[in-house]
């Protein structure tokens, strides 16, 4: 086996393959970045919604809770399938990349909203009372006092979850999205040894995830309660 691999190495590491892998990595990264951005924004909205006490927002609040509890407890693969079968009839020309990205957005919103909610709740109520006594309205209190103080509780787990999302995108290969895992499969189909093909793909994933993991660990250490 290793003799075979040794033969293939120079053929494998040619320009074409590297560009191919890079493009695939780009798609993996794109899905993750878009998914996480949407996840942070929507997750933030749901988290704020869940903390509000207004009666008018109760139905929305219940929807938010149901959403988060549902999408946190099903496998990403199942989310992919559901989104696929729902979107296909609705949006005929939808690309697979689009479907996969929507799925990541749904997943990340659910997880990140919990992280953000925990962060918002970690701010001592006295801070909110201080703001209230000074006549801050709810929005001012949220953005000027609560949110700036919740970063330290939000960032470390958020970074860890983003690493998880990078790895989840590999399941999109099942749909046919030409991201890193699919690229690996294609290379193996072209005749390269699986060790080389998937090994290269693993290295790419590692290159994407590891810096983020280190950042998460660093943040955890730095932002731990004094």
């Amino acid at each position: 086996m290793f003799g075979q691999i040794a033969e293939q190495v120079p053929l494998f590491f040619n320009y074409h393959n590297l560009v191919f892998l890079l493009q695939a990595a780009g798609r993996t990264l794109a899905m993750t970045i878009i998914g996480c951005t949407v996840g942070l924004v929507c997750g933030f909205l749901i988290a704020v919604l869940r903390r509000s006490l207004s009666i008018w927002l109760l139905p929305l609040r219940l929807i938010g809770i149901a959403y988060v509890e549902f999408f946190r407890r099903i496998p990403f693969l199942v989310i992919l399938f559901i989104v696929l079968f729902v979107i296909e009839p609705l949006v005929p020309g939808a690309s697979l990349l689009f479907i996969a990205t929507v799925s990541i957005c749904l997943l990340s919103t659910a997880f990140l909203s919990e992280v953000i909610r925990a962060g918002l709740e970690s701010v001592p109520p006295q801070q909110i009372e201080g703001a209230s006594a000074l006549n801050f309205n709810a929005i001012q209190t949220l953005f000027l006092v609560v949110l700036p103080q919740s970063w330290r509780v939000i960032l470390p787990p958020a970074a860890a979850f983003i690493v998880m999302f990078i790895k989840d995108t590999s399941l999109a290969s099942q749909l046919g999205v030409i991201e890193l895992t699919f690229a690996g499969k294609m290379l193996v189909n072209r005749g390269f040894s699986p060790l080389l093909g998937f090994g290269a793909v693993l290295l790419c994933y590692f290159a994407l995830s590891y810096p983020l993991s280190r950042l998460a660990a660093y943040l955890e250490k730095r932002l731990a309660s004094p």
């Binding site: 407890r73 399938f81 009839p89 895992t181 699986p194 060790l195």
Partner: protein, 224 residues
């Protein structure tokens, strides 16, 4: 949109699907306990081991936690035959997920081991406890309390993670869902019901784990 939801066909297949849920739980159990076995050694190596074992364990953990489980299993399934080892789909999935789980569990168990407070150990030693007594009365209860919640969460995560076995033809819950949906063409209904089954599974799992935790270890855990 002219699509009428028909759940009856899928409803008929419920026993079949629930059988898949049983397989899912089996996969989760096996990978959890085998992974825990690896994890204990890994944690001990990282905390008490020499420089080489520390480094090797570190590499193992870093590698498996920063790369997707799917690709890890692909590697096992497609690359090993070249070396003469033919693994069945189930075997490849189990081995792959176990190695993956072992890495995460190493970290969880390690956090537990280092969480023992030196001050408690000193107090116990000063009281004259032997090393074995220290282990039993000071270290283990504290470690158990610290790791119980992360372990429960991790088990639930494994239940969900087992779904990738479906991509290798294993007939666990997601695998059977794919079968049912292709046979009945009722994809949305099938996967909605299967999603519900997963939710029920995870709620039951975290609920019962929380209960056990409260009774056996006096750990207060949140289900929701």
């Amino acid at each position: 949109m002219n699509y009428t939801f028909q759940f009856t066909e899928v409803w008929r297949e419920l026993p079949y699907l629930l059988g898949g849920a049983a397989v899912t739980l089996q996969i989760a159990f096996i990978t959890f306990w085998c992974g825990a076995f690896i994890g204990i050694f890994g944690a001990l190596a990282k905390v008490y081991g020499g420089p080489i074992s520390k480094r090797v364990t570190s590499y193992y953990v870093t590698f498996f936690t920063n790369t997707p489980a799917l690709v890890q299993v692909f590697l096992l399934y497609y690359a090993l035959p070249d070396a003469g080892v033919l693994l069945s789909s189930m075997a490849a999935v189990l081995v792959g997920l176990t190695l993956n789980a072992g890495a995460y569990l190493t970290e969880i168990l390690r956090a537990g081991v280092v969480s023992v407070r030196v001050s408690e150990m000193e107090a116990a030693t000063a009281l004259g406890m032997s090393r074995l007594q220290l282990l039993r009365y000071v270290m283990l209860p504290h470690i158990a309390k610290t790791i119980y919640a992360p372990l429960s969460n991790f088990f639930v995560w494994l239940v969900l993670g087992s779904s990738l076995a479906a991509l290798f033809g294993v007939e666990e819950l997601t695998g059977r869902a794919i079968n049912v949906s292709t046979a009945s063409l009722r994809s949305i209904e099938t996967f909605t019901i299967v999603a519900m089954i997963y939710v029920v599974l995870t709620v039951l799992a975290s609920g019962s784990l929380a209960l056990v935790g409260r009774l056996a270890f006096r750990v207060k855990a949140k289900v929701f």
